[in-house]
């Protein structure tokens, strides 16, 4: 559990990150979360897991293999998702002006930390 907290904290330390969650990909349920107030973690987890699963199928069907990062950019921010071990995803919600390069780097390193 300490590992989970450290991994989430590593992501949420990046400026402009509103929250990070470890999500069960097949269930779409939150395993652990560190979210700003007002962010509906259950909804984001369910929809991000569904989206990532479908995008993975799309990428593999197109012969592109498994995506390393899914990045959904919207008007007021970005959702990032990376695989984090067996049936797990690390998901982050970023504000519009967040440092997405650093956020992606920290997400991938935190996911590797969890998967190891």
């Amino acid at each position: 559990m300490r590992n989970l907290g450290e991994a989430l904290e590593r992501v949420t330390r990046v400026a402009g990150i509103r929250g990070a969650m470890l999500v069960s990909e097949s269930d779409g349920l939150v395993v652990a979360e560190a979210l700003a107030e007002g962010l509906d973690g259950a909804a984001v987890a369910a929809l991000a897991a569904s989206l990532t699963l479908r995008l993975r199928r799309t990428a593999t069907s197109a012969g592109l293999a498994v995506p390393h990062v899914v990045q959904l950019r919207a008007e007021r921010g970005t959702v990032l998702s990376v695989p984090a071990g067996d049936d797990l995803l690390l998901v982050a919600v970023a504000e519009r002006d967040a440092n997405l390069g650093l956020a992606r780097l920290e997400l991938r390193q935190a996911a590797a930390q969890l998967g190891s």
Partner: protein
């Protein structure tokens, strides 16, 4: 989809479109069927409603023994199909939703859209009609009328 009360149709259709559920049953906490989708035989609907209401009543009793508040959701996760059973308040009393789903969706999505269904039903519910006495001679007629609504025959 078949519904006993027309105002249930729109929120339920949204839930069916979004959730990817295979079977959906809405019932009162007494097991009286309000709406169904995916069932083809009336006997299955009646059995599922009775069993679903009984399971919720059992979990309520367990919660009572444990002196905790009632359990929000009952989840049976299977290798191919799973089942979510959830009681929720409506302006017409406490209802129960029974949803069977497969690997094309997830328990997170089903729960997310079920919450929206519960909120949609609360908004769509018209004022409750005046209660009337249930007479034995009306019971069979009303039961058959409900079955016709649910199965179109």
């Amino acid at each position: 989809m078949r519904v006993i009360e027309p105002w249930v149709a729109e929120p339920l259709q949204s839930f069916l479109d979004e959730s990817g559920a295979r079977l959906t049953l809405l019932m009162t906490s007494a097991g009286q069927v309000i709406a169904q989708d995916g069932f083809t035989r009336s006997v299955d609907v009646m059995a599922a409603a009775a069993l679903g209401a009984a399971i919720v009543a059992s979990t309520d009793a367990i919660a009572d023994i444990m002196t905790t508040s009632a359990f929000g959701v009952v989840l049976h996760q299977g290798p191919k199909q799973s089942l979510v059973l959830r009681a929720f308040p409506t302006p017409r009393g406490r209802w129960i939703g029974l949803v069977v789903f497969g690997s094309e969706t997830s328990v997170g999505l089903v729960q997310l859209f079920f919450q929206e269904l519960a909120e949609g039903l609360a908004k769509a519910a018209p004022p409750a009609p005046a209660t009337r006495a249930v007479l034995a001679e009306n019971f069979e007629y009303e039961l058959n009328a409900s079955l016709r609504s649910l199965f179109g025959r």
